[in-house]
């Protein structure tokens, strides 16, 4: 197999790599998508704010500005084709002092310059009417009609699934560790699973893009991980928040926001803290406190008792201030996407098209496939169905009648479907991202024992082999009544 020649090898199956794979799947081309993790979307794609930004933040003329606005416009189509939850609920930047209203004007003007449609400046009264729980200090707001919220995991695995069903090969737990150079051109990628040869290599490795560049002998670009921490609140808190509320931005970030999520929870965050380790996803007492303080400035009525989870994500902050999407002349054959920090999720559909055009211009022959199918249908969510639809499904398959996750109302049929999807859920976290199992207020307390058994049965594994997120993250370690197993030196 390693001797097979691919037209394009994409390294990194985050939202960016997955959408590129899908965009290329439209053509007669041999495509390979690699990721070192046990599932697609395990990088920054799984830990961000999930906002589809309107596009008023980025500096006019930058790639960020251009791809943000273009990406935003593509969301209805992409999410429609891929059956991904997306809602253009509109976003607000809230000024909490008269001085801050000047910032709103700046953003408004910048947005106009970037070509963002549907921007409006709102009075404090109007903002209070729209979001009654907003701080009494509100002094005005910028409303961006085109802003929205999306399920970022779903966008990623749906795109990857659609790519796979259209012929893209996906290899997980496959890490790029070096390059094969032939005749001054990159001719192959060396991985823990051997060498894969190809004509073009797209680096969509998020935080690790600079490392892969270094390995190709390119040193100019550096990524500093910048951590953002979050709280997820119970649905009950959603009574306080109808849409997406940003504070006025600071020079380094868009600030700590309060947002409803596409699944009806409320999310608070992120703060911004530079770290050194690209795997440092720890939450910290200081960070969480900063987030809570920030969020309370916007919505003072938020309650700590609604907290159900905390997490952190790492922004792949580059040293140029803009997305770096290029074909470095020193390493022909490479296309690099680096520094894809926010608004990278929003821009991702536009980035994918941009990369296809780069490849076409660089000489990759792209003939449309006749059998390409852009449509992907997800498994229905029992929780979202009407009673009649539920009845019909249970009549077809009784497993639709068995609830496995009580808080999010996920049925056995959904778990089974995820285990047999084009990209099967092989870990608990992968299942969670696909079905929402374990994401509610009990956080898996009820479903875990049930899920272990169902996953084991469906995947042909023992519960002892089921992990939370690959690697050494086993959920149970041995049978009972077998005390010696697993103890060193006693066997």
């Amino acid at each position: 197999m390693p001797s097979e020649l691919y037209d394009v090898i994409i390294i990194g199956a985050g939202v960016v790599g997955s959408l590129i794979a899908r965009a290329l799947a439209r053509y007669e081309a041999r495509i390979l998508l690699l990721d070192k993790a046990s599932d697609v979307g395990e990088g920054t794609t799984k830990a961000n704010t999930a906002i589809v930004h309107a596009g008023y933040d980025a500096k006019p003329g930058s790639l960020k500005a251009k791809l943000n606005v273009a990406g935003n416009a593509l969301f209805d189509q992409v999410c429609g084709e891929l059956d991904v939850a997306f809602e253009r609920c509109g976003t607000y930047v809230v000024a909490t002092s008269p001085e801050e209203t000047a910032t709103l004007h700046t953003l408004y003007e910048r947005g106009r310059e970037n070509g963002v449609p549907g921007l409006h400046l709102l009075s404090a009264e109007e903002m209070r009417r729209r979001e009654p729980a907003i701080t009494p200090h509100v002094a005005g707001a910028l409303w961006a009609e085109t802003g929205g919220i999306v399920d970022p995991f779903a966008l990623c695995y749906a795109a990857a699934e659609n790519a796979v069903t259209n012929g893209v090969r996906l290899l997980l737990e496959t890490e790029a560790i070096g390059w094969l150079k032939e005749d001054h051109r990159i001719a192959g990628v060396i991985t823990n699973r051997g060498l894969f040869r190809g004509r073009w290599f797209v680096i969509a490795a998020g935080l690790w893009a600079d490392d892969l560049l270094h390995r190709a002998g390119l040193d100019g670009f550096a990524i500093t991980p910048r951590k953002g921490e979050y709280f997820v609140l119970d649905r009950e808190a959603a009574q306080q928040v109808r849409s997406v509320l940003f504070p006025c931005p600071t020079p380094i970030s868009k600030g700590i926001l309060v947002t409803r999520t596409i699944h009806g929870n409320v999310m608070l965050g992120p703060n911004a803290q530079d770290v050194t380790d690209k795997e440092d996803l720890r939450t910290t007492p200081e960070g969480l406190e900063e987030v809570m303080t920030g969020a309370l400035k916007l919505v003072p009525g938020l309650e700590r008792r609604h907290i159900i989870r905390t997490f952190a994500g790492l922004r792949a902050t580059g040293n140029t201030g803009d997305f770096y999407i290029a074909q470095p002349p020193e390493a022909p054959g490479l296309i690099v996407l680096a520094g894809i920090e926010s608004p990278g999720l929003t821009a991702s559909p536009a980035i994918a098209e941009y990369v296809v055009e780069m490849l076409r211009e660089a000489g990759l022959r792209l003939a449309e496939r006749r059998d390409y199918n852009p449509i992907r249908k997800g498994t229905p969510r029992f929780a979202d169905l009407s009673d009649a639809e539920r009845e019909a499904l249970i009549a077809q398959d009784p497993r639709w009648g068995r609830i496995i996750c009580r808080c999010e109302m996920v049925t056995e049929a959904e778990v089974v479907a995820a285990c047999h999807a084009p990209i099967p859920a092989r870990t608990y976290d992968a299942l969670k991202r696909r079905t929402r199992i374990g994401t509610g207020r009990c956080q898996g307390g009820f479903d875990t024992p049930l899920v272990l058994n169902i996953m084991a049965r469906e995947l042909g594994l023992s519960p002892l082999e089921i992990t939370q997120k690959g690697g050494a993250s086993r959920m149970v370690v041995r049978h009972t009544k077998d005390p010696l197993q697993g103890k060193e030196g006693e066997r």
Binding site: L288, I394, R402, G445, S473, P483
Partner: protein, 426 residues
């Protein structure tokens, strides 16, 4: 959709639901349906394979499964309609329930009276916002108990247990017996949150260290838990800098509280007491919605199953009576009120007529432990209606006080706004 109707519908097949259904039958209700989402009846009890159940109800020290079995047998004998693996999805204030299972699909059940008996769930890690990484190996104690006792799997080898709740302490012993190491039990408060007997039998007897005023301030480990950082806390539960200790372990078990499971009750608009997390109830365990009763841990978290059973017997009987007779017009009743060192009292409302028929047991939890003799007192407008001496009071151990029927005339004479005040006199 399959439509059913019945006199009494019980939601939840734990000890509370079983007792309520059996007593509804004994009180003459005809069609009784019990819905349970698990594939077995008995609620939490099948996984509680230790003893300590039923000393009062049966005069015998039974294990959880044995205690459950006795009630399951009674329920079978009472010829109820028992639907297991059936989950209630919604409840309306008109007492219409939508439930689902794989055999019947969706069911719509109209009931004359309903008993809520959904039990409680555990507080997860997120509720505490413990900072650090998010590896595999963080479980609530009850989930671990199910994994070990029902599924036969060990969730880890080296455990730290956060919280001195009963499930945590019982699991400390259980895991030790399975050959695992329980390194330490940590409790943020200066006192135990579970029963003293569990401290003796499950912790001390096995030489497991217990640290009070201590909590976990960080979880470490990438794939699986590798260690936790424990810190001492001050009186406001703030970690004290410099007291951090790194405790290597592969699993963190949480036994940090139980929350009555009232999602369905909320859906119907049943008013919920923010202190107990359960519905406001009167002495008959009627919620504030007519015809909807509540029993067991769904009302407030009990320590002992015997109290659950006794309260559920009353709830079931009263639900049957409601199904037969409907609502009686009655006034607002007399409120109970938590006085000095009392965190809450259940029931929340009392009626003189009911008290005249039979005594009422008040259940309460105290705020602070007092390790010497105290008096528990219920007063109405300055008059003592009941009082009792206790050798000690502890937040982890529910206390009770019986209001005798002789007090009924005083309740009847209470003026609007008067409350029966329960307090601990040190």
């Amino acid at each position: 959709m399959k439509a059913l109707s019945c006199d009494v519908l019980v939601i939840g097949g734990g000890p509370a639901g079983l007792a309520a259904a059996v007593s509804a039958r004994e009180a003459g209700a005809e069609e009784i349906i019990l819905l349970e989402r698990n594939n077995e009846l008995g609620g939490i009890l099948p996984q509680c394979i230790h003893t300590g159940f039923g000393v009062r109800v049966f005069g015998q020290d039974l294990s959880g499964p044995e205690y459950a079995w006795r009630w399951i047998r009674r329920a079978r004998e009472a010829d109820l309609r028992l639907l297991s693996e059936t989950m209630v999805l919604s409840l309306s204030p008109e007492r219409r329930v939508i439930a689902t299972n794989s055999r019947d699909g969706l069911l719509e059940i109209s009931a004359r009276a309903i008993v809520l008996a959904m039990g409680c769930r555990e507080r997860p890690r997120g509720a505490l916002s413990i900072p650090g990484t998010r590896p595999a190996g963080v479980y609530t104690a009850g989930t671990a108990q199910r994994l070990v006792n029902i599924e036969g799997y060990m969730p880890g080898e080296r455990f730290v247990i956060l919280g001195s709740g009963d499930i945590g302490m019982i699991m400390a012993r259980r895991l030790t017996l399975e050959g695992a190491t329980v390194v330490e039990v940590l409790e943020i408060q200066p006192y135990l949150s579970g029963l003293r007997r569990n401290l003796v039998q499950c912790i001390r007897d096995f030489g497991i260290p217990l640290s009070l005023c201590t909590t976990v301030t960080e979880v470490r480990g990438r794939d699986r838990v590798e260690a936790v950082v424990a810190s001492q806390v001050d009186a406001q539960w703030r970690p004290i800098a410099g007291t951090e200790r790194i405790i290597p372990c592969d699993t963190l078990l949480l036994s940090v509280g139980l929350i009555p499971e009232n999602e369905i009750s909320r859906m119907a608009g049943v008013p919920i007491d923010p202190v107990t997390g359960g519905p406001y109830v009167d002495q008959d365990f009627s919620t504030r919605l007519p015809g909807i009763y509540a029993a067991g841990n769904v009302v407030h978290v009990y320590d002992l199953v015997d109290d659950v059973t006794e309260s559920a017997l009353r709830a079931g009987r009263c639900a049957a009576r409601f199904a037969q007779q409907g609502t009686k017009e009655r006034g607002p009743g007399v409120r109970t009120e938590a006085g000095e060192n009392v965190r809450y009292v259940v029931p929340h409302t009392l009626y003189a007529e009911a008290l005249a028929e039979e005594p009422i047991t008040l259940h309460l939890r105290v705020r602070q432990p007092i390790e010497r003799a105290v008096r528990l007192e219920a007063t109405l407008g300055g008059r003592v209606l009941a009082s009792r001496r206790l050798r000690y009071v502890r937040p982890g151990e529910m206390a009770s006080l019986v209001l005798p029927s002789e007090a009924a005339p005083h309740l009847a004479a209470a003026r609007e706004g008067d409350a029966l005040r329960i307090r601990v006199i040190a």
